[in-house]
Structures are given as C-alpha cells and as structure tokens.
C-alpha cells in the first residue's frame, strides 16, 4: 500500500495493537490463521471494530459491529474522517511532515457530517462517532480489509478512503499500525510482486519507469512496451471486440470465477486460440483449443510464494506429479522456445536469482536464507538484512524520507445496481470457511462443513417469502437465473442475500453477478447486484446448473 503494493504490517502486530478496523473482511472464515493472530490481540486487549453488511463470524468477535449498507464504504470512511478532523483528533504533525493533499481532502470530506454519513451507511451517527474516536485516539491502530473493499466498481476509491484514514491519524509506518489488504489467494501477493500485472515489472516496479525498464530490457534482450497493458476486465472487453484473439490462461478459471459468467463464456468462445495450462479439466479448460497439463506447483514443484505480510516463502516438491503433468517452468520455457527464445532449462532457484538481481528490494532473499529463516519479508535488500516487519517508517523521519504520502479525494458512489421494484434484493457474495473460490481444490475432500451452495437470507425475508430452511429458491438478476436452497442466516438483515462461488457446477452464482469493473483495478463488482427471489417452481431441478462433467473449475 501507499505505492508499495503490499500490507504494511506483519501478522504479529495484530497481537499487540490497540484497535483493529476489520473492513469488508470475514477473516474468521477466509483467513483463519491470520485471525488467530488477531485473536491473540483480542485476548491481549485489542478492540475490534468490524465493518461489514453482514454480521459475520468475524463480526461476532467485534466490540462493535458496524453493519453498513453494501457499497457505502467510502461514505463511512469519509464520515469518520470528518468527525476525526472536527474533533481535533487528526495527527497534525504527521500530516504536515509526511503527507500531501490534505486541504483538498479536508474539503472533500466536509459534507460527510455524522447525520449525512448515517443516512448513507445506515449506521447511527453516534456509532460512527465512537468508531472514529476509538480509531483516532488509539496509540496503535490497524485497518485490515479483504474483498469487501475491492470487489466493487469503485474498489480503488474504497482502498484510498481507508488509506486516507490511516494518514489522517498517523496510523501507518509504526509498529502495530498499518493498512493491510489480506490477500485472498495463495501467492496473489507474489504474483503482483513478480510483475504478473499489466502495469508492473518484477519487484513491483512501474513499467513506465524508464530506468527500471531499461534494466530489464538489457537483461532480457527485448524491448518492453512502456505503456500499461490490459487488466482482466479490459482483456475480456478486447476479446469481445475481437481485438484480442489468442489467450494463454495459467491456473485460472475465468469461465466460472468471473462476473456475468454467460458473457465470459461467450467471449472465450470468440477466441481464435485459447491455451489453458491447468491441473484439472476446468470449465475454462474445456473451452480451450489446447490444454497443457501442469503440476500442482505448491507440492509437486519447487519455487517461492509471497504471503500477505510480504513474506517470501519456499514451496517444495513433496510428491511426484501424475503422469503426463509437466512442471510449469518447463512448460513456459518450452513455449518460449517455440516462440523463438531459448531460455535453457532454468531451475526455480535460477529464476528466483534473476528476480533478485533485478529487484533491489528482494535481493537479500537467497534460497539459502529463505530456508534458514523460514522466509523473509520484503524489502530485504542485502544478504544480512533481516527483512522488514512493517513499511513506511520513513514517513516518521523528520523530514519524511521519499515521496510524501498523498491524501486522495474520493467520493461515495453506491453500487451500480441498486435494488428496485423488479429486483428488490441486494445480492452480495463471499466465502465460507471450508471452501475456496470455485471449489476446484476444496471440492476434493469430504468435509462435514460442506453443505453445498445456498442462498443465505434473513429470517425476516424468509418469513416474507414464506420459505423454510432448505426450500429451493429461484434467484434472478438482470443477467441470469439460478436455483439454490434457502439458508436462513441471522447475521443478515432484510433485503440483503448472500451466496458464494464455491459450487459453480451446482449453482453458477456468477450468472447473476454484474460485470461492471473498477476502471483502475479491473475487479468486478461481485459484492453487489440486484436480484429477485421466488420459491422455485420445479423442485429438485436446479436452473443455472451446467451440464459439465468435469471435476470442477479453477480459480
């Protein structure tokens, strides 16, 4: 965060901080072991504020649960900010020393009075006030979030609104303070760090940075285009325009994991050439012209991943892959060879050493040190650098070192699709503890917790619809229709329903979701769309069920 592209804090800081704002994250189920660290904090006296439309299992640990309207995150953050400023709780010396753009920010949040914020968020003014004061007055406070912040059409604005709060109160750059996105997927952090983003080089270096680019061009012997590439949503649009005609998919299942699945499948079918590198014959792989069977990289190959606290960790080969599956490095090297580049037969360590050589903040992390120290947290610049517990201590030096941290002007903009007379419910999506994404991996074990897909509804809505626990409901959005059994969840309020993406072969939830993405991040608004619910007419025959026989889809 703040230009660094990773959580600023370490897990252990959650054990010793005073206040945690857990925002748009059901970490109790989605990040259970991170939540352990938070629980230690709670046992040590940390006060927890959970911001989530649902009273989730995480929210049940909160000192205060703030159940805002879906998509009202900026409104809440800005209201808290205004209250902090007006109560004289802003950290003025930090703002003066380390930040830029405060005046514009102050002007921007000024209209967000407690009363206005209460209207926009649904949370009573005094509760917003209390949360604002608790966060601002704490000696140490952290904000942690997950997809409840980022799976919105204004995802980046949401994130910036939270960073603003941290800058306003000086809750960043010190032990126990920070702004932390909890990474949803294994190595989503590492993927970004390695430059698997349309705008970054390995080491999270900006592709438009001439110096960085020159370094890579020299090392690789190729020219790198100095402009940002397409993100996933833009790629899908380009495919739809038939501007993009070939696609290599590595370990991802967009046909099921992306919003508005009907549309995704349609554009994938338009491609001239679709190559899918996978461990399973996923829904996406079934659409492919060529499938490259790969190893499960986390246990059938060597390499590294990076976790949510910027810790680079070794993965190791524990079992031999099934016959015919090839190491991903081998596949990529062979692809390169066929495209005219001979990379030889690099080992995972060779590749890593190249990354280190070109990314100063990773240089200190030799395989030997990673082995010995159980991973290292970047930045780690030299071979005796112990790694970094937290980022941005530079902001506390006087004067602050490096670029000042900028406040951002962000305004509330609710979900693109709000409930109306035709589609009166707001559908939001998320995860359950025992399952994961589209279920490719988590479908593989028998769990007493697996209960298949359901549509979770409030007791009030269940009563209104006259449905009992387990009754089949038809859920319809402007894009599609699926059937799912009702699951009555006391943590939901009337008007909000919840589903997951875990069982796409049974219930293709993404037929319902809206393919409107944040222009800056490319993430679609999985967290909000309007639906209607009706008791299913044909019992036992679920609509939206696909006829695929594959094991599952991938992520």
């Amino acid at each position: 965060m703040l230009g660094a592209g990773g959580s600023t804090s370490s897990y252990q800081e959650a054990e010793e901080t005073d206040v945690v704002l857990l925002w748009g994250s059901n970490a109790r189920e989605a990040h259970p072991i991170w939540f352990h660290h938070l629980l230690k904090g709670i046992r040590n006296g940390t006060r927890l504020y959970v911001v989530d439309p649902r009273r989730t299992s995480s929210a049940q640990w909160a000192d205060v649960w703030l159940g805002l309207h879906v998509g009202a995150d900026v409104a809440l953050a800005n209201t808290m900010a205004r209250e902090i400023i007006h109560a004289g709780l802003a950290h003025e010396s930090f703002i003066a020393n380390a930040t830029s753009g405060f005046d514009a920010y102050r002007a921007c949040v000024e209209p967000y009075t407690l009363e206005h914020g209460a209207q926009l968020t649904g949370i009573p003014a005094e509760v917003i006030r209390e949360a604002a004061h608790a966060y601002a007055k704490a000696d140490k406070a952290m904000i942690c979030w997950t997809l409840g912040i980022t799976e919105h059409h204004n995802a980046v604005d949401n994130v910036l609104a939270l960073i603003n709060l941290a800058l306003l109160t000086g809750h960043v750059g010190r032990y126990g303070c920070g702004v932390n996105p909890l990474r949803g997927q294994n190595n989503v952090q590492g993927g970004g760090d390695m430059g698997a983003l349309p705008n970054r080089l390995p080491g999270f270096q900006d592709i438009r940075d001439d110096e960085a680019r020159a370094k890579y061009e020299a090392r690789w012997g190729v020219r790198i285009q100095p402009t940002y590439g397409w993100n996933l949503t833009e790629m899908l649009m380009a495919m739809d325009r038939e501007e993009m005609t070939s696609l290599l998919v590595v370990g991802e299942n967009p046909a099921q994991s992306d919003a508005d699945a009907h549309h995704v499948e349609k554009v994938l079918r338009k491609l001239d050439h679709l190559v899918v590198q996978e461990i399973f014959l996923t829904k996406t792989a079934q659409l492919a012209h060529v499938v490259l069977p790969a190893t499960a990289s986390w246990c059938e190959a060597e390499g590294t991943v990076t976790n949510s606290e910027r810790r680079v960790q070794r993965v190791r080969k524990a079992v031999e892959p099934p016959e015919g599956a090839r190491d991903e490095l081998w596949i990529l090297s062979e692809l390169a060879k066929r495209l005219g580049h001979d990379w030889g037969k690099p080992s995972a360590e060779d590749v890593w050493n190249e990354v280190r050589e070109l990314s100063p903040k990773l240089f200190g992390m030799s395989y030997e040190r990673l082995e010995k120290l159980g991973g290292l947290q970047w930045p780690c610049r030299t071979l005796d650098d112990p790694g970094s517990l937290f980022l941005h201590a530079r902001l506390w030096e006087v004067p602050a070192q490096g670029r000042l941290a900028p406040f951002s002007v962000v305004e509330h903009a609710g979900p693109v699709e709000m409930p109306d007379a035709d589609y009166p419910f707001l559908l939001t999506t998320g995860r359950r503890l025992e399952s994961y994404n589209t279920g490719v991996q988590s479908g593989g074990y028998d769990s007493p917790l697996h209960r298949g897909e359901s549509v979770d509804i409030s007791p009030e809505d269940a009563a209104m619809l006259g449905v009992q626990h387990g009754d089949l409901l038809t859920i319809t959005s402007r894009r599609g229709t699926v059937d799912a059994p009702a699951h009555i969840d006391r943590g939901l309020r009337a008007g909000v329903v919840f589903m997951t993406l875990h069982f796409p072969d049974d219930v293709a939830t993404n037929l319902l979701t809206i393919d409107i993405a944040d222009p800056k991040s490319g993430t679609a608004e999985f967290k909000a769309c309007a639906v209607k619910l009706e008791p299913a007419r044909v019992r036992g025959l679920a609509r939206g069920t696909t006829n695929v026989l594959a094991t599952a889809g991938t992520d």
Binding site: R28, I42, G45, R47, L48, R55, S57, S58, A59, Q60, W61, A62, D63, V64, W65, L66, G67, L68, T121, G122, I123, P124, V127, P459, E460, R490, R493, A494
Partner: protein
C-alpha cells in the same frame, strides 16, 4: 465470539429465570426479539464487554437449576446466548457442580447426607428406609430421550455441614419461588413429608443452644441469642464499632493490630493473616478484590455456618475492615450452595448494611467505597480451595490454579486478591476492639486467640465450641460430655476428611497449631469427630476415600487417578480381598498416597491420603490382617 448453538429453544420458564437474573436482553444479538433498526446495523455483543459478563454464568446456571430442576439444552443455550459463552464451555462448567443437574431430574429433590458425620448418627439407616419407601437414590442419567419424570426423588449427598444435628438432608424444589430447606435431625417421616412437598407439616426445627464455655469472643452474640436479622440488635452488641475504629486509625494501623495479634488463618492452612494483608496492600495494582471464603465443605465442619447464619453482620463487618485495611475495592462472599439459611440471612444483612451506608459509596462518610456481592457455590468441595474459588466466581470450572502467581499477586480476574476464611474475619473485630497485643495474650504464644471447634460423631453434646487456643483436646471433649455412657472413645478425627485420626488414648493434645503439629496431627478446619467403640472407622475411611474420589476436580493425574486407586485399594482391604496380600496392598496404598501428596496441584490431592494413612498406621486399621 462466534458461537454456534444447536437448535434448542429455551422454555418460557428457563428464559424467565435467566432474565430475572440478567435483566431482559437489550439486543437481538444477545437474545432479544429481532426487528429493531439499530440491531440491523449495529452490535455491541461479542467483544470485551460481553466477555466481562462471563462471571455471571454460574449464577445463570443456578437460576436455571432452581427454576427448571435441571439444565436443559435450551436453557443452557439461552444462558450462552445472553452471556456470549460457547455452549461446550458452559457445559464443562455445568457438569462440574454436584448441585447442577445436566440430565432431566425431578423438580423436587431431597439430598440426604451420607457422609461420615451423619453416618455416625443414623444416615445409613435413613437411606435404607428411603430406599424401601421411595425407591433407589438417583445416581444415573435416566435412559431414553423422552423420560417420564416422577415429581420427586432423593439422592445421597456429601457432608451438608450439619454434623451437630445429624442426620441431615437438604430439600431443593425448583419453582418460580424455589424452596431450599436444610434440616437436621431428619427422621424417615420428615424425609417423606419433604418428598411429598408437605413442608408445612414438618415439626419446627428443634431449638438448639450453642454450647459456650467461658467468655466467647466470636460467639458472644450467638450465645446471647442476638437477633441475627436485625442490624439494630447487632449494633446494640458493639457491632460496627470496630469498623468505625478502623476508619479512624487508617489501613496501616489496622494491619499493624492484626499483625500484633499474631492471628493465623482459620480455614485450615494457618497462614499469618497480617502477612497476607500486608502482601495484598503492597501491590502496585489498585484494583483489588476481597473474597470471604464461606465455602465450608470439609466433612465434619460447620463452624462458619453458625457465624453466617446467626451472626451475619459480623461477617460483613469483618470483610469491610479487611477490605479497608488492604485497599480492596470489591468483595465477594462465596457461600457454599448447601447453606440456604445462611444465604438468606447474609442477603438480608447485606441489604440492611447498604441501606445504613455501612456498605456502598462513601461508607460512614469516610470517603471510602466498598461493596460485597454474594455468590453461592453449587456443590463442589474443591471451590473452597483459594484459587479454585477464583475460577468459580469468574464462571469457569472450579479448578485450582497453578501457584505462583499467588493470590495476592494475581487472583480474581487477574488482580491482587485477599482470600480469608469466615472465622478469620470474625476475629478482626475483637482484635481491633481489644487491641492486637491484648488479643495475643489469649491462647498460646504461637496460637493466639480463640478457636471454633466442631464437635460431632458419637459425642454427647455436639456443636460449635469456642475455646482458647491451647486448651487440651481432652478438656474440650469433656465439655462436650464425651462419648455416651458406657462407651469408650476409640478414635478422634481431627481436621476433617483432610485431617488425621488419633487414638482415643492420645487426646492429651493442646489444641494449638504447634500442639497439633507436634502430635503429627492437624486442627484443619476445627473438626473433632468422635468414634466410640461401636462406630466403624473402616466405614469412615471408605467414605473419606469416596469423598475425595468424587470431589477431585480431575485436573491433575495424581489426584484424578490416585483418589480412585486409593478407594479401590481400601475396598479390597475392607472386603478382605487385598491384591497380593495385606502387606502388598498397604504398600501400594502408601505409594499412591505419597504420590498424591507430593505431586498433586492443590491441597485436595495433597491431603487425600492423610486420614487414611493415620487410620492405618496410627489406629492399626487392617492391622489384624497384617499378622
């Protein structure tokens, strides 16, 4: 906390019982009806504030028990929802206590004492008669899911603290207005009336006069028959003069008097009270707790019952002075669950004291505030252990804690805590009124003051006796009339189940801590139980072993398994089927006993072999079989 409750709703009466204790729920997230706009967007339930209510769990379970007769899943769930406690955790607590039923049980249950004191005075015969007339005592879960419960049942109980009026029984009838009735001198006819719910037909409890000798310090009001329910009567008998003096002279001076008095704790461990008070007073942490340990459960002990039921204001005054002297901000009176009259009298006395500004804010205008909360046990001897009492009050299983840290460092809720026995606190008033040095002249140089002794068993005049420390045991037994005419004194159990047997010819022991120690015995909690030539020491030893097996909390291996092995071994000896002969069996018993003594966490396990050991090695029990 994220709490998962199974679908088992409470009955109306269960809900009412819990709400009567906790007040009606405010939020839908703690059991109120859904529907408020506030609850749809905000919850304050589940965080630190909720966890801080955990200490109300045992009272909530007690409320359920006294209303429904047992703790059903629906009832437990509701208590859990109200207090944010996971159900398995609450289950662990509920199943810890003997007075809480975790399986269906009739609403009217008679607990018939079957312990050593009552057995010496007809308890076995009473139980046998009840078995004939009312069927077997309940001791198992009823089989099957849907059980037709009878209206009433009886069960055997460990010592009820009524050995002076043995045999005794405790009637508990769960209802909106529950009834608890502890009776002594129980005949089969009385028991039958109670089981039929015909309490009004019971004869009045026989009036007893507390035997007194000389000029008592602690029993003076009781001896005079001062009305225990009247604050005026108490103040009329120099009540609260000591508190006024304490407020005048200030905490250090009060502690100095107690130290000068050389008062030793009367709960059994005989720790110097002044040193304990100084240790608490010197803690940097200023939130400190006082606990009056009124969980008197040592078989044969009933002295505190007398003070609590018949001189309740003295307990309050003693606690208040102790709190003042040590800077405690809040007091708990932890009263054993089997003492309903004491509970009633203490509650009433606390109300009156509050109304008279003897408790509460700005006590007697001295700018100092203190109050006392009454907590009741639920049938667990171990909760009288000074750290188990913390866990019990906090709403956890009453398991002793590891020491260090000691209570004065980190006790109740992790804060410095002073734990004193009822009788210890009752000594504080005479000490302040006569002066510590003057008090120290009573008794012996090392055991000052007077002590309360509980005489029971085959003795002519059982009761609580107050004598100066150092009085000889023989003299005291004579005061109590000795054994009945024509009988001979064979043995005396000193100090209770955790104490020691001595022979009938060893009674020339001075009743002082040092005197008892020299005689390799202990005064413990002041139990003096007489066994004449018709009484069965073997039966008492088996019962003592059974008592420890039942009352072990089960936490540590030496005590959990050792108490079982000890009981098994004693039964083999008693039935004449020792493993590998008497000598091997006695050696095995000794190994078990020493391991319990050396390796158990707390005093229960450490003393579980004492009485058994003395019975075998001092009285020569099983000795004839030796040769």
């Amino acid at each position: 906390m994220d709490i998962r409750l199974r679908d088992a709703p409470p009955t109306t009466e269960e809900r009412e019982a819990v709400d009567a204790l906790l007040g009606a729920p405010v939020s839908a997230w703690e059991g109120a009806a859904r529907g408020s706009a506030f609850d749809a967007h905000v919850s304050y339930v589940g965080g630190a504030a909720s966890r801080a209510r955990r200490h109300l769990l045992l009272p909530a379970l007690q409320a359920l028990q006294l209303r429904a007769g047992w703790i059903s899943e629906g009832g437990l769930n509701y208590a859990c929802e109200r207090l944010n406690v996971p159900p398995a955790d609450a289950w662990g607590v509920a199943t810890f206590y003997g007075l809480l039923a975790t399986a269906p049980r009739p609403k009217r249950v008679l607990h018939v004492c079957d312990d050593i004191g009552c057995r010496l005075r007809g308890a076995r015969e009473l139980c046998a008669a009840l078995e004939k007339s009312h069927g077997a005592a309940i001791d198992h879960q009823p089989a099957g899911d849907h059980v037709e419960l009878p209206d009433q049942a009886w069960m055997k109980s460990p010592c009820l603290g009524m050995c002076d009026v043995a045999p005794a029984a405790l009637m508990v009838e769960a209802a909106e207005e529950p009834l608890e009735l502890l009776r002594g001198d129980v005949t089969h006819a009385h028991a039958a009336l109670m089981l039929a719910g015909k309490y009004e037909m019971l004869p009045l409890a026989p009036l007893r006069t507390t035997p007194t000798v000389g000029r008592p310090l602690l029993l003076q009001r009781i001896a005079k028959g001062t009305d225990p329910e009247s604050l005026e009567a108490y103040t009329g008998e120099s009540g609260f003069l000591a508190l006024r003096k304490a407020l005048e002279i200030g905490p250090p001076a009060v502690r100095a008097e107690v130290t000068a008095a050389k008062l030793l704790g009367r709960g059994g461990a005989a720790f110097p009270t002044g040193r304990k008070w100084d240790a608490v007073a010197s803690q940097p942490e200023t939130t400190r707790y006082l606990i009056c340990n009124a969980d008197e459960s040592e078989p044969g002990t009933f002295k505190d019952r007398e003070l609590l039921a018949n001189d309740p204001f003295a307990v309050i005054e003693g606690m208040t002075i102790a709190a003042f002297a040590t800077g405690c901000t809040h007091g708990f009176l932890y009263l054993r669950g089997e003492y309903p009259l004491a509970s009633l009298r203490m509650s009433s006395a606390l109300r009156q004291a509050r109304a008279a500004n003897l408790l509460g804010n700005d006590i007697l205008g001295h700018g100092w505030s203190f109050d006392i909360e009454l907590r009741r046990g639920s049938g667990a001897y171990i909760c009288g252990e000074e750290t188990a009492i913390f866990n019990s009050i906090e709403g956890y299983r009453g398991e002793p804690r590891n020491k260090p840290p000691f209570p004065f460092q980190a006790g109740l809720f992790g804060k410095p805590t002073l734990v004193n026995n009822v009788e210890t606190l009752a000594n504080v008033m005479p000490i302040l009124l006569m002066g510590g040095a003057e008090y120290a002249k009573l008794g012996t140089p090392d055991s000052t003051g007077t002590r309360l002794f509980c005489l029971s068993g085959t003795v002519q005049r059982p009761g609580v006796y107050e004598v100066e420390c150092g009085t000889s045991l023989r003299a005291l037994i004579e005061m109590a009339g000795g054994v009945p005419e024509g009988r001979t004194l064979e043995a005396v159990l000193l100090g209770g189940a955790a104490g020691a047997f001595i022979r009938g010819d060893e009674i020339d022991i001075p009743l002082s801590f040092e005197g008892a120690r020299a005689a390799k015995a202990t005064l413990g909690s002041g139990v003096i139980m007489l066994f004449d030539d018709r009484a069965s020491v073997t039966d008492a030893v088996l019962r003592i072993a059974g008592f420890f097996r039942d009352e072990s909390c089960g936490q540590c291996v030496p005590c959990r398994v050792g108490t079982v092995r000890q009981e098994e071994s004693l039964h083999r000896l008693a039935r004449g089927v020792p493993r590998g002969g008497v000598q091997a069996e006695v050696a095995l018993l000794n190994d078990v006993g020493l391991a319990m003594r050396d390796a158990s966490i707390c005093g229960l396990g450490q003393t579980a072999y004492s009485a058994v050991e003395t019975a075998i090695h001092r009285l020569g029990l099983f000795h004839e079989a030796h040769s």
